[in-house]
Symmetry: C2
Subunit: 189 residues, 2 copies
DNA sequence: TCTAGATCGTTTGGTACCTAACTAAAACGA
DNA sequence: TCGTTTTAGTTAGGTACCAAACGATCTAGA
């Protein structure tokens, strides 16, 4: 993902900013209202749904933060990109897989996948095989090096997932996943 | 967002896959358990926190889905990237701003911002001014064209934010934002 | 005043990502 | 049986993104 809008919600990272935070402390809350009124005034008769704005904007911010730190602290030292890691993980869980389905599982465009599989192939972590019955198609499998790597990295990654969800109860986490799934479906994955 | 791992959670997009979905229907649920046991077996004595995995993986998936569709259906027709839109939005809400803070508000690396501001400048949507007192620094402002554009686009973007959160109550949306803010903080924005 | 260090924004180099165009293979139809 | 259409994966072109190196400017300390 790159980074981006979803309208800023900067209370989350220190600076003043829009403050959709629903913070409980008074000054925070006042600033929230001030900003909202400010925007509202600027928009005239158009009405803005700040609650939806806050929900959506935080999705992007969280995703970017989680990804950046994972790349820096876990993936970089094994020389794996976020996308590369995903591919290894999917192949590890589901085994040999054709390119088209692999792209779907990894949520990547097929053209993107081609390049990333090539990179992993050069690194000796995966292998391509043409399908005999239909020579247009290609399957991808983990090599033993790839297997060893993902078995080493994934537990660390999962510990990181636990770390970034600190402060959320198991119920919170399930609720979070559920709400996000609805959004993903609405956006039409 | 880019796209990526956070371990797949593909029930969300049709294909078989990991199915952390907490689906209620029976076959779905069985598949979930089977997959979990499968991975667990593969990992031997390492234990995996599937709830955290599902929470985190869905963040990325949702962010990517939301972004892709926004770029395609809203931003493309006004020739704006997600990042470019964010910059205009921040400047619109907060007014003239120095580069460093703008990068922070937009959640972008400063080097990234430089290029994107240059693009927007070429499009005539923003302007740069050197700060008199400290000639290292630069402020960025909206031009009248930039102002007109963001006033036109933002209401549409907000309607889109409402659309992708369809099915979530206002309380759900606030809860979603709250949970995500915790994650962002944990990941150290 | 002079200089060493800190602090700006920009540049650079590299990856990742998407879309659209392309190539090759299979499937279909007359 | 031969074209046409469909369906694979790859390639090409462009943007976005980050991190690290760079150059210019300010600031301290002597």
């Amino acid at each position: 993902m790159g980074t981006t809008p979803s309208s800023p919600d900067s209370t989350d990272h220190g600076t003043p900013a829009l403050a959709m935070s629903a913070g409980l402390d008074q000054p925070e809350h006042q600033r929230l209202l001030a900003a909202e009124e400010d925007i509202q005034a600027r928009l005239g008769d158009h009405s803005i749904d700040f609650v939806s704005l806050a929900a959506v904007s935080n999705i992007y911010r969280a995703a970017a933060a989680v990804r950046r730190r994972a790349e820096r602290e876990i993936l970089a030292e094994v020389n794996l990109s976020w996308g590369g890691f995903t591919i290894l993980w999917v192949l590890w869980v589901w085994g040999e897989m054709e390119t088209a389905r692999l792209a779907g599982e990894c949520d990547l465009a097929k053209g993107t996948l081609t390049g990333m599989v090539s990179t992993l192939e050069k690194q000796g972590l995966v292998e391509r095989q043409r399908v005999e019955e239909d020579r247009r198609r290609v399957t991808v499998t983990l090599t033993s090096d790839g297997l060893a790597l993902i078995e080493d990295v994934f537990p660390r990654f999962n510990r990181y997932e636990v770390a970034v969800t600190t402060g959320l109860s198991p119920q919170d986490k399930q609720e979070l996943a559920r709400l996000l799934r609805t959004v993903t479906t609405n956006a039409g994955s």
